[in-house]
Symmetry: C2
Subunit: 192 residues, 2 copies
């Protein structure tokens, strides 16, 4: 499907150059068509962008759900650490994660409301997923402390810190070092 090719190229450039820094001619050239032809598939730049955004959201959410469903039976240490590792791997393979991160932080202002709605929705779903798992662990007495909400927020903080490191430097050694440090302290903070 040609429109998928267009979205794929659009994802790439939106991620690297942002919304304003990406031109339709750039995307079209990447696909091998003229920029006018994009209008056969999308109403315009905004329509294309929002379409890419929705795909990225779906991708992000499904990978979350998938991993959590697979791992929810294993012990907390293995699962929580494993998820961080998995995320690092995905971040380099799946381009939509970086796109999502960028647009969540710094959305094009004229689309702020539409983007905010999506990011909020995703965040709520992700946190609900986590909170439930932390809740079962606390009930089972395998974790030290506190309420599920606190653990969820702290853990998602660790996730964000790693993601930022991935965007910021993209230096594998640095990322590994950061992961090790953050995990060490976090795990010591929540384990018995």
């Amino acid at each position: 499907m040609k429109s998928d090719e267009i979205k794929k190229a659009a994802l790439k450039y939106f991620t690297i150059h942002g919304y304003e820094g990406t031109s339709l001619s750039q995307i079209a050239e990447d696909v091998g068509i003229k920029k006018q032809s994009i209008y056969s598939h999308f109403k315009g730049k905004d329509d294309l962008f929002l379409s890419v955004l929705k795909d990225a959201k779906e991708m992000e959410l499904s990978s979350y759900v998938e991993y959590f469903n697979i791992m929810k039976k294993s012990d907390p240490e293995k699962m929580l650490y494993g998820f961080l590792e998995e995320m690092i791997k995905m971040f380099q393979e799946v381009e939509s994660l970086k796109f999502w991160l960028r647009m969540g932080f710094f959305p094009p202002t004229h689309l702020y409301n539409e983007i905010q709605k999506e990011t909020d929705d995703l965040q709520v779903q992700q946190e609900a997923l986590m909170e439930k798992i932390f809740g079962t662990w606390i009930s089972a007495g395998v974790l030290n402390s506190g309420d599920a909400r606190t653990l969820t927020l702290a853990y998602s903080g660790v996730i964000v810190a790693i993601m930022v490191e991935l965007v910021y430097a993209d230096n594998p050694d640095r990322v590994a070092e950061k992961l090790a440090a953050s995990w060490t302290i976090f795990w010591r903070g929540i384990s018995k």
Copy 2:
């Protein structure tokens, strides 16, 4: 000074709309001059941008150094938690912090090298500052564990997580909740 006004307006728009999304006419209008008059003060858009960048770096570093010098004598808990609170306050008051964060994450690609150089330099200085303090605390035996490097990286992770929350939602309650959660776990992870 008029060039300071220009830089101030530029900072504002660069922060909100990014490099590509900001036009010189926008900046000029904000100052009350024509866009061509900007060229009386700066060589061009890039020159203005890099000038703003250097100011922001200086601001960020000096506020770091200032706080650390004042607080280095107090106990770890008070200082580390206090710094997070201070950062939240500054983030809303000092615009250059948000600017710095954005450009560190998503720089305009054609200025990547110049920006990377500055961000790297700042990061090294900040981490050196932290690591030294953690080192003295460890030597004094007031902290539980590990090497200073690990604590530094983990703590800067907490900082980043809070900053991201500030950018992401800008909801004071949400930020406070995140701070409380991250701090609780982090402190439990490093204290005796």
